[in-house]
């Protein structure tokens, strides 16, 4: 039922977005079957903003034109018996745990894009009353999922862009960039002059520039990749909590490692206050130390995910109303939101970077500056 909803969604997406001519040529029974189905918007949306073990490119149907194209991605599992790798195509697009793949004597199923390892002796997944599995566990999953694939793509793009940019400086004899370098330089200078120097200070900022620049461009390009709704983009990497968590933890670790005595003194034994106040403030400050990176993590995750949810909800309206006439309105609103999102993704990358710089600056604060 789920996969059929998904298929019908893409059929309709193609009908509404590409040409009206498509609608005429589409087999009649296909459309009528769509109308019979109950459309579950939240299921669709959560499927879309989640991760996947394969990359769906286009199409909804194996038999009808346009034929569905899904790119299989490698599954890499760390099990009790060591590393297990195979292509996700071995599941034959199954996400309901029906297709069992056997490797090294272990049985694996794909259940809602999570790989489960069946317990020894089991031959198929058994569900309990709440649709949870009884007889399978999740091995450590290091698969190249859609998000990981997208992240590698962003890495390649970033490397290409900035290698070219850096090379353009070397080519010129007066340190003037050309081409992509000319476009990137103002942004790099912006991060330096508006983010690093005001927050960290002239004295220490140079040490943090590589991190801040990498952070900003890494978040930004992945945000942008998430906005582009077709292969090889369209992932929701920067709206994934694991991604934001990792970056927030890196910021936290750097903050702790660059902290000076005054940072701890200020946190644990606030100078210039009566002792009861000091005792009262210390736990709050300690909580604050952890809340900062957590806020970083949630802010980026929530903003990017929300953007995707809004866009998908607007498109979903077409199916909720079951009317083609909603399509123009949906598309118009989607366009409007997408334009705002272009702004939002840049701002979110900027805020993440700016706050990271701010935390570094606080950690580096010296006594006399206060």
């Amino acid at each position: 039922m789920r996969i059929r909803t998904y298929r019908s969604f893409f059929t309709i997406l193609f009908l509404s977005l590409l040409t009206t001519g498509f609608a005429a040529s589409e087999p009649k029974e296909n459309i009528s079957s769509i109308e019979e189905e109950e459309f579950n918007a939240s299921e669709l949306i959560f499927h879309h903003i989640g991760d996947s073990h394969s990359f769906h490119v286009y199409g909804s149907d194996e038999d009808h034109f346009p034929k569905a194209l899904t790119i299989p991605l490698p599954v890499i599992l760390w099990t009790d018996n060591g590393l297990v790798t195979f292509m996700s195509s071995e599941f034959h697009h199954d996400v309901d745990g029906k297709v069992v793949v056997e490797k090294k004597g272990m049985k694996f199923v794909n259940l809602h894009d999570k790989i489960y390892q069946l317990n020894a002796g089991a031959s198929e997944v058994v569900f309990d009353a709440e649709h949870h599995t009884d007889n399978a566990v999740q091995p450590l999953d290091f698969s190249i999922t859609k998000n990981v694939f997208s992240m590698f793509l962003s890495m390649v793009l970033l490397l290409l862009i900035f290698m070219f940019a850096a090379r353009s400086y070397k080519k010129s004899n007066d340190n003037m960039p050309s081409g992509i370098g000319r476009f990137m330089e103002p942004i790099v200078v912006f991060i330096r002059d508006e983010v690093a120097i005001p927050n960290i200070g002239e004295k220490h900022y140079k040490r943090y520039m590589p991190f801040l620049l990498t952070l900003f461009f890494f978040i930004w390009i992945n945000n942008v990749i998430g906005l582009i709704p077709f292969f090889p983009f369209s992932s929701n990497l920067s709206g994934n909590i694991a991604f934001t968590l990792t970056l927030a933890v890196i910021t936290f670790v750097i903050t702790i490692f660059s902290s000076k005595k005054y940072y701890w003194k200020h946190m644990l034994w606030m100078p210039g206050l009566p002792i009861p106040m000091k005792l009262f403030l210390a736990p709050i400050e300690i909580i604050g130390m952890f809340v900062k990176p957590i806020a970083l993590m949630i802010r980026l995750f929530a903003n990017i995910t929300a953007g995707h949810v809004i866009v998908l909800s607007l498109i979903g309206l077409i199916f909720i109303f079951k009317s083609f006439w909603v399509a123009p309105i949906s598309v118009l609103f989607t366009l409007f939101i997408s334009v705002i999102e272009v702004l939002v993704v840049a701002i979110q990358a900027y805020i993440f970077t700016m706050l990271s710089a701010l935390y570094f600056g606080q950690a580096l604060e010296e006594e006399h500056e206060h």
Partner: protein, 164 residues
Amino acid sequence: MDLIKPEIGLIFWTALTFGILLFVLRKFAWKPILGAVGDREDSIKKALAEAENARKEMQNLQADNERILKEARAEREAMLKEAREIKEKIVSDAKEQSKVEGDKMIKQAQATIESEKKAAVADIKNQVAELSVEIAEKMIKEQLGNKDKQLKLVEDMLGDIKLN
């Protein structure tokens, strides 16, 4: 809920990717880019400072020029004044000297004239004396030859003298 449950795989790949990016970009992108931008900014700053220095120097030079010009003008004025004074002095000196010289020449001339006059008068006196002697001689000769003639002669001579 799946949405807020971080997956270990993605954490691992994110950390790895970010690490690689940080390392490679730091070495091959941020360092050269920031270096080039910094160098350019330094050179601009330097150029601006140099321009400012040049402007100041120019100002100094201009002030110097003005001062020198003023001094030169004053000097010229002084020199002109001095020259005028010298000129006037020379002229007045020359005038005085020429006056003295002239006076001296006039006096000399007067003295010469006087002495010439005296000499002339003396000469006339001598000639008159000689003529008187000659007349006296002739008269005596006539008197001695003919009484009448002598008389007549005296008369004639007297008449001559009157004519003179």
